[in-house]
Symmetry: C2
Subunit: 300 residues, 2 copies
């Protein structure tokens, strides 16, 4: 799959990556005491890697509603902190047992397991610290809605619940409906938060966010199908992580249940559907349209 990002998207990806790195670099200044190792582990995981897809989605959604860029960056950093914590814990020997992440050794390999557990827990706490600060938005109800939605999207009714289903999936022969539900929790809930966050920051009421929720659901599934395709067809060196793991684990995926051809077709249909959700927006929706296409055309 050739990567064919538009110039608009290329610029937004590069800007977001630089902004997030700069934000975490300032946030995670290493203290001169025995906690230094903890901060170094957080920096190892949080700085200089990853597509930064979630902060980019927050930025693109916030663009629709002319939200201040600093507010969007802080919300993006919060969800990225949650995402990174989940990767650190997911990579642990007791979970997926991965040695490589974003082309670097995983945190428990570069440091040790105990430090990895605490680095994940620390990033988890920091996400809420970022959102609670008035620099994220002057309206306290906006901050509280971001916090309430993020705790739900990342907790047992969201990401953590999806990870639990994923652990239970090995050799269970889940059907397509169950795999879809699993992925909607495991990755979809957090992606949904990103799109809602832009609208929350723009003070768009709940009932005005249906199109964004639909877009999030569609690209979330498309993203996961693309991930499954990379796992089957991908090159570990390009992906920056181990591939072929799902088949080895005897785990049902969109690709194992639908086959490669139909899975790819479905991913593209979902992207078309996601783009159609944006029909109410003009050129300010172009970045979200470009992201939807990128989600299935990326190679990692």
């Amino acid at each position: 799959m050739a990567r064919s990002a538009s110039p608009l998207l290329e610029q937004a990806l590069a800007d977001t990556a630089a902004d997030i790195d700069r934000y975490f670099d300032a946030l995670l200044a290493v203290p001169a005491d025995p906690r230094a190792r903890l901060y170094e582990a957080m920096r190892h995981a949080a700085i200089g890697g990853g597509k930064r897809l979630r902060p980019l989605l927050v930025r693109a959604s916030a663009n629709l509603f002319a939200v201040d860029s600093e507010c969007a960056l802080r919300a993006g950093a919060a969800v990225e902190a949650i995402h990174v914590y989940s990767l650190i814990h997911d990579d642990l020997p007791a979970m997926d047992d991965d040695d490589l992440r974003r082309g670097k050794p995983t945190v428990h390999k570069a440091f040790d397991e105990a430090t990895a557990i605490l680095a994940g827990d620390s990033l988890h706490a920091l996400a809420f610290d970022i959102l609670a600060d008035e620099a994220t938005h002057s309206d306290p109800f906006v901050r509280l809605e971001l916090i309430a939605e993020l705790s739900r999207a990342s907790g047992p009714a969201g990401m953590a619940g999806g990870q639990m289903m994923d652990l239970a999936a090995d050799g269970q022969g889940f059907d397509l409906a169950t795999v879809t539900r699993l992925q909607q929790l495991k990755t979809g809930a957090l992606i949904g938060w990103c799109l809602e966050a832009g609208a929350i920051l723009g003070r768009i009421p709940h009932e005005g966010r249906a199109a964004l929720r639909g877009y999030a659901r569609d690209i979330g599934l498309a993203f996961q199908i693309a991930d499954d395709l990379i796992d089957v067809e991908g090159d570990a060196a390009v992906a920056g992580k181990a591939v072929g793991k799902d088949a080895d684990a005897g785990k049902e995926t969109f690709v194992s249940l639908m086959g490669v051809a139909r899975a790819r077709e479905q991913a593209h249909a979902l992207v078309d559907q996601a783009v159609a959700q944006l029909s109410g927006f003009g050129s300010e929706g172009d970045l979200l349209r470009a992201i939807a296409r990128y989600v299935v055309e990326r190679d990692r």
Copy 2:
């Protein structure tokens, strides 16, 4: 050490334990899907055990300012969720590797390591979900201050940072100042939050909370010294967890640095000092006074 709780304290301990159990029982209803195991693991850790010292401290502090009891209970449940998540992660093989907690098998023993990691992460997220809800307080600034302070008290500048120092402590020969700082982060920060939470719920401004912060600092250290004494002198069956672990790990503690006699003396001096901090309060401070004494007289 004989346990000699006052009738007032006995009643408050029993009421708080029952209220927290009831709260978590309702919050953690087990869903009929593959996430059931995750909720069962959270219930195993969060229901039916523990002294509930932190929710009790929130309740006792809230009592000073005539705070609604439901608000105090919710704040207490939030900090207990954080405390329980930290115990689950702390007990993991990569951390303290404990088999027994609150007289029951630890979560990774009763379930498995992956489920324990996710159960901890889930309780961590739920703590912020509880605080963000308007049922915790009608004033959004009160909820935001509780959230901001709890994320700081539990994150790398608080509890998680203290745990990192504790991991680094093995055979390092920390001095008394470093052990004090370690414990102020590891257990003191969360205890400090409990006392502040009562005042925040009562809308007492920051500058009016100095006595409570002093009380928290004093009982936090006294609590830890008592813990070290239990680790040296205690009975595992009574403590409900393994004892003698610090000496085995070659870790400096208040007891190893001061000796048993001086440590006990110091704990009692801290309790007297904590009680003296409450001189501005009348009988509404009696529960906090009783807790201060209980902290060093408990046997587990």
